[in-house]
Point group: C2
């Protein structure tokens, strides 16, 4: 069982911000404000809800600034030749179970539509799992819309188990 | 669509800590260290994983202290005549989607086994939804183990939709 140091006031580790090069040249790093338009395009390309606007608003910039300043949350981007082609959000959550272990949570996983099935999504998830291990988390969790019929097998190949039902209530 | 003020540095609102009395006398408040033993007993009573120990460890106390100091996370307890009979964890997560809206997440929902089906779980969830609205969140989300066969209907009655698959990877 992993122990986990409380990290409320700890800054993002240098590891999290370090660029990781993959054999297929995907570079994964924390998002910059200049990436926002590309990130929103990825979100809009594959939205299960109301489409996001293609142009970032002041609220989007503020949200990224908030996330960037927060030690427990990161918007990551995957780039190829400096083009943003993938994104995900990685969050770390404290809890009482498992001797007070932290858990990692992945949200908003997207890969550019013309670049799917080439292993880039797997690289993004493996990067997130690596960050979770580095933080001493005992669990990585995510939910996937049931309409994404191939996603379950994708995550199962990466070691995830579809043990839960994901319930949402929009306010 | 709700707008949401960035609240990374904001303390827990007084609302969150205010006791709310329900017709059936369930009182919901943030957990104190003295509640830990009762909380762990609730977790152990109904664990889908390795059972939690009945006695809190130093790690559990540190975890509760961390959570209590964090403006985005709360362990809530529901009490009857000052006995802790229910618990849940409520977390607030920033994001980019929905114009940078925050979402609320519920984890670790438990009601004492001899007090189920009396509406106490619903009171706990409705309390959490109320807190989510007060924080301007656009979404409340949770996952429920598929082995909890009645849970899906319970959450659907409260307005949740079982739209997602919840995937877990233990490290």
């Amino acid at each position: 069982m992993s122990s986990c140091t409380p990290i409320v006031n700890r800054r993002k580790s240098s590891l999290l911000l370090k660029r990781i090069e993959h054999p297929m040249n995907l570079t994964i790093r924390s998002a910059h404000p200049a990436d926002l338009r590309a990130i929103l395009t990825l979100l809009a390309q594959d939205s299960m809800n109301a489409p996001e606007p293609a142009l970032p608003s002041a609220q989007h910039y503020r949200a990224l600034e908030t996330i960037d300043a927060h030690p427990d949350h990161t918007i990551a981007v995957g780039t190829l030749n400096d083009d943003v082609v993938a994104t995900l959000q990685l969050s770390f959550l404290p809890g009482l179970a498992f001797q007070g272990a932290w858990r990692a949570q992945i949200e908003g996983v997207r890969v550019r539509s013309d670049l799917r099935s080439q292993g880039f999504g797997a690289q993004m998830i493996q990067w997130a799992i690596h960050q979770a291990r580095a933080r001493g988390c005992n669990l990585v969790q995510l939910t996937s819309n049931q309409a994404r019929t191939n996603a379950r097998r994708f995550y199962e190949r990466l070691g995830f188990h579809a043990s839960h039902i994901g319930m949402k209530l929009y306010l």
